[in-house]
Symmetry: C2
Subunit: 238 residues, 2 copies
Amino acid sequence: MTETDRAKTPDDPTREASASPKGSETLTPPVFDQSFQQQFIDLLLWRRDVRRFRTDPIPEADIDGLIAEACLAPSVGNCQPWRFVKVNAPERRRAIRDSFERANQQALNDYEGERAKLYASLKLQGMDQAPVQLAVFADEETEAGMGLGRKTMPEMLDYSAVAAVQLLWLAARVKGIGMGWVSILEPNVVQQVLDVPEHWRLIAYLCIGYPEEDNVVPELVRHGWQDRIDPHDVTLDR
Amino acid sequence: MTETDRAKTPDDPTREASASPKGSETLTPPVFDQSFQQQFIDLLLWRRDVRRFRTDPIPEADIDGLIAEACLAPSVGNCQPWRFVKVNAPERRRAIRDSFERANQQALNDYEGERAKLYASLKLQGMDQAPVQLAVFADEETEAGMGLGRKTMPEMLDYSAVAAVQLLWLAARVKGIGMGWVSILEPNVVQQVLDVPEHWRLIAYLCIGYPEEDNVVPELVRHGWQDRIDPHDVTLDR
């Protein structure tokens, strides 16, 4: 299915984009004006790893729309290795919640004193409230892309799925929807609980819903776990 | 350095955002209207892996601005593991170009017949024209974030650097600047050529410049290498 075909799919939310491809001769590339540029920076500033959700449901069509936008991510050799699993069954959610509890307890044991107290006080996931839970995998055996671009850097396949997660995150925030990425999990447990092929690697477990509050400062900064680092301190010339 | 401090840095391009944090009591979260929502989808649709660049230079301040926006990416435990290396020295660029040639020749040997001909005809990088070349690494030994969130999924550190690359890509496109991600490289060679610490893992080698042309359809789709996949075909319910 080509991108041109995609734009004709009636339930594709990207079809209304003013630049939707119809015939390449009629397309004008967008120019993003000053107002958009400022709002784009606002989007980056206000994207948060959300752990506090309202429980109101999110329409399934909206989630499918976010997934469609995520599928516009770059991927190595255009292999599009991302696989999305909507986790709906309460018993599966419970088993994944249990996996978090085990992994979190183990992690807590790595810290001592004040740091352990601080760790224990942090809210690290919103699995009990988030109306939508989405697992994202990378299909390590996909034939799409024919291996292009990942002979010397095979990890590019996983990175492509990460790119899709990042777009989904921004697309959600654009619609006022919050997302949190839970990584304190046992990947093999999640894979088994969700009954997906063995060659799908867990990339992300996402909690999605309307945020209980908006905040421009990351939760881990506010709680004194880790401050922002100045970009100049992580840039070298060679 | 906190996010509040960052906003006061005079050369921080994010300081002009209408939501720049000054005091949290005065902050109103942005609402992204229909016009922004459509333009955001345009941004995703028109982001391309660019391999054909004009050679006009890009002001250093603009590149630093893109890096600052990339640093607003999410990172596990807020560890901000991204490290940016501006590759300026012609001999270093040449050595990395040589690495591409070797890796590309080896990759070509994996294909046969028509596929090999097609592979050989593809333009897979723009290293000869791109005025800016930026290597992105993940610092595998950073103490920032104190290991939070990556005990069971240590790969989250690398994924955080991938997220920064993704934001840099979109931020560039917002300003009409194109980016291409070159992964047909020998990571250990790039690391040595750039003389960075051994515990920095190469995540991405980026070519950046004004694109020679804009196109809404990915180059690999246009050249018949790999079509788009329908999002419905990569989504499951569980």
